[in-house]
């Protein structure tokens, strides 16, 4: 995981389900070692954006590239191979399997590297999430929600990604656990990993991100540094639930 983060570039991306177009020309960029967030309300297309980047959903137009390597209309296994790993919404763990087995499966695309490399990678994610080492032999479904989310992130890290995509990692978790997970994301970013984070909790996301995009009905309506967005009146009103600045409205 000491490898440098890659840059991700999404240009004019369109996709959808059947005849329903969800993404309508998305342009976003994550530079190497940046934590970028996409915020927006339910149904804005945030999850679809991540799913289209890794190829769960097929793009109908536009392009995705990682370090100038084209990834448009890729398959998920190729995306993982290139170094783009998704922590899916709802975690999608292998419930009856042990924590360790889940992690080993995370390294599936690197199976050729041998036992020593696997042990090293396991040690690495255990140091990020010590609770997972304590629970290594336990089946994943017996973990608490927070531990499951940690396992989902750890499993994605086992493929040694250069770009990590996270879909709503804070969903349904206690504030203390959320803080712990975001603290780890900060640490990963500090090591140079590029992170694209999709969140409904805009305040939380912007607090940890370098830059952000605001998405609404399949389009990017606003973008800027995290600080700018935190200070933006529209963002404050719609996504942060606060109203300051314009006193005459009430």
């Amino acid at each position: 995981m000491s490898e440098r983060g890659a840059s991700l570039r999404v240009k004019g991306l369109e996709s959808g389900y059947g005849r329903v177009n969800v993404l309508r020309g998305i342009d976003i960029e994550v530079h190497s070692g940046e934590l970028v967030t996409v915020i927006g309300s339910n149904g804005a297309g945030k999850s679809t954006l991540l799913k289209t980047i890794v190829g769960f959903v097929t793009a109908t137009a536009g392009s995705v590239s990682v370090d100038d390597r084209d990834l448009t209309r890729t398959t998920p296994e190729r995306a993982v191979g290139i170094g783009v790993s998704l922590v899916p919404e709802g975690r999608m763990l292998f419930g009856p399997m042990s924590v360790r087995e889940n992690l080993v499966l995370g390294a599936y695309s690197k199976s050729g590297r041998g036992e020593a490399s696997l042990a090293q990678d396991l040690e690495r994610v255990y140091s990020l999430f010590p609770v997972l080492e304590e629970r290594a032999g336990q089946s994943a479904e017996t973990l608490s929600g927070g531990e499951q989310q940690m396992l989902a992130v750890a499993r994605a890290l086992m493929s040694k990604p250069r770009v990590l995509l996270l879909d709503e990692p804070s969903l349904g978790l206690a504030p203390k656990v959320i803080a712990e997970i975001f603290h780890t994301l900060d640490a990963l970013r500090a090591e140079g990993l590029s992170i694209l984070l999709v969140e409904q909790d805009a305040k939380l996301a912007l607090k940890h991100a370098d830059r952000g995009y605001v998405m609404r009905t399949g389009e990017i309506v606003l973008s800027g540094t995290a600080d700018d967005l935190l200070a933006d009146d529209d963002v404050r009103l719609i996504y942060l639930g606060k109203w300051h600045g314009k006193d005459d409205v009430r």
Binding site: F56, E77, G81, F94, G95
Partner: protein, 327 residues
Amino acid sequence: MRRGVLKFAPLAIGSLVVACMPLLVDDRYLLKVLSFVAINVVIVTGLALLFGYAGQISLGHAAFYGIGAYASGYATTTLGLPWIVGLIAAILLSALGGVLLALPSLRLKGHYLAMATLGFGEIMRIAFVEAQPITGGPDGLGSIPYPSIGSFEMSAPVGTYLLAWGAAGLTLLLATNIVRQRPGRAMRALHGSELGAMACGIDIVGLKVRVFTVSAVLAGVAGSLYAHLVGFVSPSTFSLHFSVILIAMAVLGGSGSLAGPFVATALLTLLPFADAIIPGLSRDALALIQDWEADVYGLIIILVMLFAPGGVAGMLRRRRRGAGVRP
């Protein structure tokens, strides 16, 4: 080390008993019944990979069994080709069927996949009846020769018995290798969460096609063995009823296991032939069992689902855990 030896002891003793059975008993009927057990072990092991490990259901496995049986029968009788060519034809055609059935499985899950495979099974059953020039229609295909290589003939009951159990042994060996290694992990992941498996970089399209094909080929091989053992095949053998019995064996055996389905297959296959293993059983008692066979299967499934949802495999695991050995 000692534990390792102990672990393999039952396996070694079991194999020895199976291999020496023809020397120990001189009962044609028993050997034939035990050959059926071996044939069912081949097909149910394939189903255990597909259903118990990869989590993909098939209610059409009788069709692959039929494809294998007719391919082998047609090649050796009508075309007069050697047995080995019949076996190869059975493998190739069932593999083709497996790939074809894998295609809907890429888009369908659970109940919908069950319906699609059920449809496939029915289409093939009707095809077996209608393709009269090849299959002999409802009258079936008769006088299929015993397996032979050159002048060496494996006749019933001893030759076919050894051949069937040889095939079963090879199948179990192959399946054990698959489940213990990378593909086995990927299959269990697919069973756990398809989206999760994709996120881990598992090529689930390729995996599904491969596991369907392996499973179909094993069913085809079993069908070929059956055709040459019995010497006669007709469409009624390859009905939905048989597919359901196969699924019952896999379910009773328990998922994520090969030993469980093996035991379940042996028990359920022997049930209607109880007189072969219980010498004193009266004809009336046997007739009763055979009349109520389907009901007994149904009852066993309900009871297992209620009281031992892990099936035979679950029971084996619990016993092992009780003995202080981690599974």
